[in-house]
């Protein structure tokens, strides 16, 4: 198998890897880098569980060939906050009960983050547009929407 070199920014750090060009960004994150926070739900861009932020925009990592990220900036759930320093979205998802099985959660949070990074006061329809590509089978989206609103409010205040 021929390997290619790829270099990109991952969660604000430079990474350089030797990769199989047949792998997707999702394959590399989960398989090679052990960043399993980004989930695989369908592998075809139909569920959003693998959503990451690529140069500021939400994308399905399962549809991004790894070489496509050459020189670009990728952000995953692992890069936005941890237990000591939660991102307001993570905090709001926890506090509002927006997490059930948790499998859609990282992708849902990344889609929401891509929105809030650009839109300080999103409307309901903007929030829904941002997360409509993220299937959640547990929550009915009610508490997720509440969490995104709450996080937006908190981010505005700080």
């Amino acid at each position: 198998m021929s390997k290619l070199k790829v270099a990109f920014q991952l969660n604000d750090k430079d990474v350089a890897l030797s990769v199989d060009p047949n792998d997707t960004l999702l394959d590399v994150l989960r398989g090679q880098l052990n960043l399993t926070g980004t989930k695989k739900g369908c592998g075809k861009g139909e569920c959003g569980a693998c959503t990451v932020i690529l140069d500021g925009e939400a994308v399905n990592a399962c549809l991004i060939p790894i070489m496509k990220v050459m020189g670009r900036s990728v952000q995953t759930i692992e890069g936005i906050g941890d237990e000591k320093n939660l991102h307001p979205l993570q905090e709001a998802f926890i506090d509002k009960g927006a997490i059930q099985c948790g499998y859609c959660t990282p992708g849902m949070i990344m889609s929401s983050k891509a929105l809030l990074d650009k839109t300080k006061s999103p409307t309901q329809s903007e929030i829904r547009e941002a997360i409509a590509g993220n299937i959640c089978r547990c929550t009915g989206y009610v508490k997720i929407e509440e969490a995104v609103q709450a996080a937006a409010e908190k981010m505005r205040d700080s």
Partner: protein
């Protein structure tokens, strides 16, 4: 009402932090050194005999370490659902499948599996397996499958119990009074037949398992199962290995379930174990999304007929229900679901005469099994639509007709346990107020093409699996040397908040804050036997077991403290992890526990519960807008008023209700798996199967009513499945209010509504 410290509070979920930060581990995330990846070759035919199978070329592909098929794999018969572990004699569990058989019975049935060093190589190897099939006649229609000349999908032999042509298990017969008499006494009789679709759980994490076999024969399986202990029993049966040598656990998170993995995660566990035994290496299998659609249990499609007789004043006199469920190629929970359909259908209303008859039937489609609601949504779409029709026929308000006839404690009913609580009337009144019921029938002007309507429906469910099968729970609660509390329960948390809820019970009983509590779940090695997470039972049954265990542990701690303080036991209490007695004498629980440990004692409580059962109740209301030119139904508002008994964690309960309602909305309007004439699924991907998205959501209002049940832990009842029991009929009722068509088939797609509108116009 009793005052609680932790129960009834929406404490932060114990799993939320890990999940929000991407640190929670799911089966699909696991990897072990030297691990192999398994892929499955699946049948392209709906019914065929494998005449020849040659795995030679696949075995020779570099990187392939084993290829399994019926020729080299155990053919012990089993049932992939947990039914085989808790079907109580004289009922017989239907054991009708093996890991790989020489006959395939649906498109997607397992033919062979490959273990290889990468998923890609395993996939490549599948293409190198040569299979020759002899096609057999197939049948997809449940009615035709029972006809004498239909092909036999299974033959009756030891383990595979048939009670009629292609009918697995038992025919169900439930009766109260004499329906024929009841109909004679009725002034109005309505009889209608309803058609229910295949609905798919479509949980986000597909079926998955990782198995290792040590060289002394011990087996460990991490998997997505909702029932680790029963899964271990099934694996022990298949591989003829003592249960004590098998460990099954969740890692600990499961990406949803909704019933699809009660028992095995389809065949993920046995496929992985078998290949691990063949290769002596860890083997991981993750179903891809298409496999998850085609080759894991679905909700039963079927046909339900309702005949309702009432007096002129609205009193129900007779209710007859007939059910036929298509259980697909293997029985799974087919024998139980058909029973629950009847039992739940006849448990909502009081009528002196009732009769239910029903059976499941094999066909050559994807097996149907457990899915949130378990037969109940099928029953209630039919019954509630007929009740709505009855109200109209009698000239009564549909809400008043229901209030007049719903079961009250003490009424005779069909179930072998008594109804000891109901908040249904309160659910109906509160829900009606929230939706604005009085506006019903007044929302449109003549000529409007967008027409609005309001509808309602009610229902009940269970709080555990008894009497449909065996049901019991055990739990350990231990107070550690530092006074912190550890709970061990065999139930998984597939996202329903089980871990948190069980922790709340322990914290409440012992008298500590949640920060002192940790909970181990879903591991056959470190938790006592439990039948698992299903039947809305974890809070109600496992919760009772934890309360009992906690009570016992607390008792030991108090007795020990009484001794330390030299005070009478009855004067002691624990609050906020401090043992208080009269006056200001106190010891922290940590001091007591440490002292005990230094004197060779730990406070261990064991809770064992054989549960009663208790009915949760629900009333759903819908407001819709129907586009009469396209047939499209837009949901404007859903109200779900639920009597859940005591809500142990209200935010978790609301989440269950909201999520359930949305699944019910999908069942009502868009979710359906159709099989073509060759038995191939037409909806085998997320872009084909119409789950609702965030942009499709109406306003959803969950209302909690707390009619506590004396049998429940702190008065709690089941909640997990109730959310979608009556959603579809409420929406159907709203559609009728909007445009005057009675939908008798689900889902009520734009095309079906459009056709119904055209037929209405023709009349």
């Amino acid at each position: 009402m009793k005052e609680y410290q932790v129960v009834g509070k929406s404490v932060r979920r114990l799993d939320a932090l890990e999940k929000a930060t991407g640190m929670g581990t799911f089966t699909t995330d696991l990897a072990l050194p030297g691990m192999l990846y398994a892929k499955v070759l699946r049948s392209p035919h709906a019914h065929a005999r494998i005449v020849k199978i040659d795995t030679g070329r696949a075995e020779q592909l570099p990187g392939v370490e084993a290829v399994a098929c019926f020729k080299n794999t155990t053919r012990v018969k089993f049932n992939h659902s947990a039914t085989m572990t808790f079907t109580v004699p004289p009922m017989e569990a239907v054991l009708d499948e093996c890991i790989y058989d020489d006959v395939v019975r649906y498109v997607g049935d397992e033919v062979a599996a490959v273990a290889a060093v990468s998923e890609r190589i395993a996939e490549e190897a599948l293409a190198l397996i040569d299979v020759e099939y002899e096609l057999l006649p197939a049948v997809f229609d449940p009615v035709k499958a029972m006809e004498p000349d239909a092909p036999d999908i299974h033959i009756k032999k030891a383990g595979c119990f048939l009670c009629g042509k292609n009918i697995p298990g038992e025919k169900i017969h439930l009766a109260l009074g004499n329906v024929e008499e009841g109909f004679k006494e009725s002034d109005v009789i309505i009889e209608e037949t309803f058609y229910l679709p295949v609905q798919k759980q479509a949980q986000l994490e597909t079926q998955a398992a990782l198995a290792t076999v040590s060289n002394n024969g011990d087996i460990t399986v991490w998997s997505t199962t909702q029932t680790p202990h029963p899964t271990r029993q099934i694996l022990s049966h298949i591989f003829q290995i003592p249960q004590s040598k098998i460990r099954v656990l969740n890692p600990p998170y499961i990406g949803g379930g909704f019933g699809v993995r009660i028992g095995l995660s389809a065949k993920a566990e046995p496929i992985a174990v078998d290949l691990a035994m063949k290769t002596k290496k860890p083997v991981k299998i993750v179903y891809d999304r298409k496999e998850d659609f085609t080759s894991t249990d679905t909700r039963h499609s079927g046909i339900v007929t309702v005949k309702l007789g009432a007096k002129k004043d609205g009193t129900f006199q007779a209710l007859q229900l007939k059910g036929l469920l298509n259980t697909g190629a293997y029985c799974s929970f087919g024998a139980e679901t058909i029973g629950v359909l009847g039992a739940m259908g006849l448990s909502v209303y009081r009528a002196p005469h009732m009769l239910y008859t029903g059976n499941s039937v094999y066909t050559n489609i994807t097996p149907a099994g457990a899915f949130r609601g378990f037969g109940n949504p099928q029953a209630m779409f039919a019954i509630e639509t007929v009740v709505d029709m009855m109200a109209e026929r009698l000239g009564m308000d549909a809400k008043e007709l229901r209030l007049k006839n719903i079961i009250k404690p003490g009424d005779p009913w069909i179930l072998p346990y008594s109804c000891q609580s109901t908040g249904l009337a309160e659910c109906i009144e509160k829900g009606a107020k929230e939706i604005g019921w009085e506006r019903r029938g007044t929302l449109n002007k003549p000529g409007d093409t967008l027409r609005r309507g309001i509808g309602m429906a009610v229902g009940t469910h269970v709080s555990d699996a008894w009497p449909f099968c065996g049901d019991f729970s055990n739990a350990y609660v231990t107070i550690q040397a530092d006074g912190s509390v550890h709970v061990a329960s065999g139930v998984p948390d597939m996202g329903t908040g089980t871990r948190t809820t069980l922790g709340q019970f322990a914290a409440e009983v012992i008298g500590v804050g949640m920060e002192h509590v940790s909970v181990t779940i879903a591991d056959t090695q470190s938790t006592p036997f439990d039948i698992g997470s299903h039947a809305s039972r974890t809070c109600y049954v496992a919760g009772q077991a934890v309360m009992k265990a906690a009570t016992e542990a607390r008792g030991y701690a108090l007795a020990y403290a009484a001794n330390m303080l030299n005070e009478p036991l009855e004067d002691l209490t624990i609050l906020d992890a401090v043992v208080f007695c009269r006056g200001d004498r106190k010891l922290t629980l940590a001091e007591v526990a440490r002292h005990a440990h230094l004197h060779n004692e730990q406070f261990i409580g064991v809770g064992k519960v054989i549960p009663q059962n208790a009915p949760p109740w629900l009333a759903h209301f819908a407001e819709v807008e129907v586009d009469t030119e396209t047939g499209q139904v837009r949901l404007l508002k859903m109200v779900a008023a639920h009597d859940v008994g005591k809500a142990i964690n209200p935010v978790i309960v609301e989440g269950q209700l909201q999520g359930g309602v949305v699944q019910g909305m999908g069942y009502a309007l868009s979710e359906e798996v159709i099989f073509d004439r060759e038995g191939r699924s037409q909806h085998d991907a997320y872009h084909k199967y119409m789950l609702l998205t965030a942009e499709d959501m109406p306003e959803i209002k969950a209302i909690i009513v707390e009619a506590e049940d004396p049998t429940g832990p702190c008065g709690a009842k089941g909640v997990g499945e109730t959310g979608q029991v009556a959603t579809a009929p409420a929406i159907a009722s709203a559609i009728y209010d909007a445009v005057g068509v009675r939908m008798k088939q689900l889902p009520m797609t734009e095309e079906r509504v459009f056709q119904a509108l055209q037929e209405l116009q023709k009349r």
